[in-house]
Assembly symmetry: C2
Homo-oligomer: 192 residues x 2
DNA sequence: TTGAAAAATCAACAAGTGTTGACATCAGCG
DNA sequence: CGCTGATGTCAACACTTGTTGATTTTTCAA
């Protein structure tokens, strides 16, 4: 009534399912989050989940659909690109809690082959995409590997494993401690 | 017959179960590896797995039992401790394939709470234990966090996700590229 | 060889999974 | 009103999971 464009009742519940699914996939991964649990948390019948999304796999694909917000490193002074990258990912991961798709993929990729493939793709677009404009083509793969290993290692230990030593760091700590490493991986000299 | 001390038939199959379980847990994680699949790969009845180990959980605990081979960094010149650490873990992880407990824990910790707790413990003994003799107590937690994030990030991207950019690196490449970072995390200056 | 313990087999259980189809309820429009 | 299509409910399916008990086969010493 109050809406202007067909406030279809179904759209609200569809959104509720999606929100519940994002939460569940975020903290339990694909296999750990059951359709029944997702439905229960949204106060909905499990059958509706299938009716609205077709299958659990398609629900996951919808929940994980990503907006690619790439940082434009070319517009950042060369000496601050490491810091910019760390801030970019930290902002993504701690923007709205229990929402980021990369963490969902990380939690799922271990056991779910499709999620692993999607993570490869996301990695390629996010990290390689960010670095391509600012590093030599001959070094792109190597520098991307280094950045990915450190940033995914940070995400893993901080958000998935929650090792106290890493999880207890403040945002400021993280930026201060990891920026120099990423800076070297992006723009520093590589050992020959 | 050819053995001297009670070559109990059961010990052989128990060992076979353990080997099969290590393999399965290593590539599928705790939830992904079913008791039936483990038994099938060892050509035995699923019931035997339970009879010999009590439960899947106890089998996992037995498969993941770890020999703590800590590197003694105090005996390594200060400037080479980063390299020594990288070589230590690389040797662990690529020693005998499909055997390392840390990878098994990494694959399982995502969905299995006990595995996550064990990983915290292993991390504490392996990383913190190696660093304690050679870093100031006031910096131990912070330096351990940095080393753990990079080394687990390497393990994650190389062995679990198998991102081509990281998995394609040779052992020599890995040592060359990651040692400087770990060296800085262990003995270099920390940003204030 | 005989007999007892160890090892292996088989079928079944209770619980949980994703998914489906038949049915009931409700909305809004003619 | 009555009708139609969208929403929601319920029970059941086929399957997989870890685990158990009864039963049979094998092993090995007396």
């Amino acid at each position: 009534m109050t809406e202007e464009v067909s406030p279809r009742k179904g759209d609200r519940t569809k959104a509720a399912i999606l929100a519940s699914a994002r939460n569940a996939f975020h903290e339990l991964g694909f296999d750990g989050a059951s359709v029944r649990a997702i439905a229960a948390q949204a106060n909905i019948d499990p059958a509706m989940v299938i009716r609205y999304f077709g299958s659990k796999q398609e629900l996951f694909a919808a929940a994980v659909r990503i907006e690619l917000r790439l940082p434009d490193l070319a517009q950042v002074p060369k000496s601050r690109r490491g810091r910019a990258l760390v801030e970019h990912f930290l902002h993504r991961w701690e923007g709205e809690p229990n929402e980021d798709a990369l963490i969902m993929l990380l939690r799922s990729a271990v056991s779910h082959e499709d999620a692993a493939q999607r993570l490869h793709t996301v990695f390629a677009s996010q990290v390689v995409g960010a670095l391509r404009p600012v590093v030599a083509a001959s070094e792109l793969k190597r520098r991307s590997a280094l950045v990915a290993s450190q940033m995914l290692g940070l995400a893993l230990t901080r958000y998935v494993l929650r090792l106290p030593a890493v999880a207890d760091l403040t945002r400021t700590d993280v930026i201060r401690d990891f920026s120099p490493t990423i800076q070297r991986y992006v723009a520093g000299p590589l050992p020959h």
